[in-house]
């Protein structure tokens, strides 16, 4: 089954899920906190292929969840089914501050080159703006945990600086002020470790704390990435990702999300 699949035979979203699942390999036996959508699909794929002892937790107060089928509701019975204990939402989500989770996922509407994520408003909060979903648990996860940010790769979503910092990245807001400071200055643990899009994986430069392209998905051109990124992206360290394997796509399609609930394909 170690057989590569051509780029035409899977979708960009499927590629994103596979690369995230591979990243989770190093977290086998450890704890992830995840929301609904791609993260839960990737976590399940990882559990099947790369990290059988991965403990999946959800901000629903459900610990070590089993996911008999891909859930639509983050708070429904597929989440609590045969989990270890079903307590209240605080019990699980406060685990971010306790340092219980080794890795977490963040989505949103905008991410900037410092890994700050915006899921609150697009535009000027005090002036014209469009309202988004709100933080949910994203701020709680992002303040304390190493995070993987998942975002569609579009110019208006991968931006120079977010309109509103919902989830702090590497250069974020000093509390009770408008000032931008280094995350470390605030004493926050964790921080974004990668941004996964439908085109590539970005990581953060240790010095500048700016995102650079680390892995380009097979079949994607550098130009596509440049033209879809809202800032001057560093591609100097970019390499093409290991090809997607047949077993990865088949496990994803046949076992993880057979009904294509999340429309990955």
């Amino acid at each position: 089954m170690t057989e590569a699949v051509k780029a035409e035979e899977y979708t960009p979203l499927e590629a994103a899920v596979v690369y995230v699942a591979r990243e989770l390999k190093k977290y086998d036996g450890r704890s992830v906190i995840t929301g609904i959508g791609l993260p839960v699909v990737a976590s399940l794929l990882a559990k099947r292929l790369y990290a059988p002892k991965l403990k999946i937790n959800i901000e629903s107060g459900s610990f070590d969840i089993q996911l008999p089928e891909i859930p639509i509701s983050l708070f429904g019975p597929r989440i609590s089914y045969k989990c270890s204990a079903q307590l209240n939402n605080l019990h699980s989500l406060a685990g971010t501050a306790r340092g219980d989770y080794d890795i977490g996922f963040i989505g949103g509407a905008q991410v900037d080159k410092y890994g700050n994520v915006n899921s609150t408003v697009i535009g000027d909060y005090l002036g014209g703006h469009k309202r988004l979903a709100g933080s949910g648990g994203a701020v709680d996860i992002g303040c304390f945990t190493n995070t993987i940010i998942i975002m569609p790769h579009r110019k208006e979503r991968i931006v120079n600086f977010v309109d509103y910092i919902t989830t702090p990245g590497w250069k974020c807001r000093k509390p009770f002020s408008d000032e931008i400071v280094d995350r470390q200055e605030l004493g926050l643990p964790g921080g974004p470790i990668m941004i996964v899009t439908n085109l590539c994986i970005m990581r953060f430069d240790k010095e500048s704390k700016e995102a650079y392209v680390d892995t380009i998905f097979p079949g994607v051109s550098k130009e596509t990435i440049i033209s879809n990124t809202g800032f001057d992206i560093d591609l100097s360290r970019a390499r093409t990702g290991e090809p997607i394997q047949k077993i990865e796509i088949e496990t994803l399609r046949k076992e993880v999300d057979p009904l294509n609930i999340y429309r990955l394909r």
Partner: protein, 318 residues
């Protein structure tokens, strides 16, 4: 039988305009929809929602809920909440943004706490007080003293050093909670995700419980460790089978996906939404009418399978 058992209409009459209302369940799970529809029928105004606003969307569209203090106002996998988005854009819904932990920690009033200190939301614009809308929310609140003077405060930590963020707690005027089973005296048993219903039931001044089933109190008392809310905290009980439709009720029924998708589509303009409202809320008169309109076949197709607590997607109806 306890005199706590009342009709849905009577129970919802207890909610007053301008009340801070805890609505139980989370997002699309165990939301007290029958009570929400009844709030709409009774024309409630200026209610202040808490924590998460999602399937409560029609109550926003109908003008019952006009403020929200919480972390999330969206329909999860179903995307934008149409009425919430529209009312917000029109300035008819005020939102005070919090993180998820903070939007739950506000119920620490349940434990007699007036504020709590943490590092939550540090680095985020959530702590940027210039964005706070509490003053506007206080204007519509019936009990103005329950709305904190400021959203957060910064304190020097006298115990461990450094700075902390102090978050005020809130006491809801009323909690409306839908549970799977309630005993005749008011003891509640919840299956699946709890949210923070237990905590909020202790925090609120008044607690209204709607339930899939009223069961003998003795039955629940065989295992008090399994119960979620004690009878001493519950003021009113209403039996409302399928009372959280179209949300999901663990061990009872699944999410009515089609219903929600249809709602989202039809509620995208105020005019169409009002038509939807007429069809599903006003013209049906009460919850029984709503269920009849849904029809038994549709309801049965949602019924959870024992042993799973949900209906597996590959299970066909017999």
């Amino acid at each position: 039988m306890s005199d706590k058992i009342v009709s849905l209409e009577e129970a919802v009459r207890e909610i007053q305009n301008g009340d801070i209302v805890f609505i139980g369940g989370v997002l699309d799970s165990r939301v007290p929809m029958a009570a929400i529809y009844e709030m709409i029928r009774q024309g409630k105004k200026d209610l202040i929602g808490l924590s998460i606003l999602a399937l409560e969307d029609p109550a926003v569209g109908a003008g019952c809920i006009s403020a929200f203090i919480g972390c999330y106002a969206w329909l999860g996998a179903f995307g934008k909440a149409p009425c919430i988005a529209r009312k917000y854009e029109n300035g008819e819904l005020i939102i005070e943004d919090l993180g998820h932990n903070d939007s739950l920690l506000i119920y620490m009033s349940a434990f007699g706490l007036s504020s709590v200190a943490s590092n939550y939301s540090i680095g985020s614009d959530l702590l940027n007080l210039k964005y706070s809308k509490l003053d506007k929310i206080r204007e519509i609140a019936r009990n103005k003293e329950k709305i904190p003077k400021v959203k957060y405060a910064k304190i020097e930590d006298p115990f461990f050093g450094g700075e902390r963020v102090l978050l005020p707690t809130i006491k809801p005027d009323v909690a409306v909670i839908h549970v799977q089973q309630v005993g005749t005296e008011g003891t509640c048993r919840i299956f699946g995700v709890e949210g923070v219903d237990t905590l909020a039931a202790f925090a609120a001044d008044k607690v209204i419980v709607t339930a899939e089933e009223i069961v003998p109190e003795d039955y629940l008392r065989e295992d008090p460790n399994r119960n979620s809310i004690p009878c001493t905290q519950v003021d009113m009980i209403v039996e409302v089978p399928w009372g959280a439709h179209p949300s999901v009720v663990s061990h009872y029924y699944d999410l009515d996906i089609e219903f929600i998708i249809d709602y989202v589509k039809r509620a995208s303009t105020q005019e169409d939404f009002e038509e939807w409202l007429e069809e599903w809320v006003f013209s049906v008169e009460n919850h029984e009418g709503y269920l009849n309109k849904l029809g038994i076949e549709r309801l049965e197709s949602l019924r959870a399978v024992k042993g799973y607590g949900f209906r597996p997607r590959t299970w066909l109806r017999r």
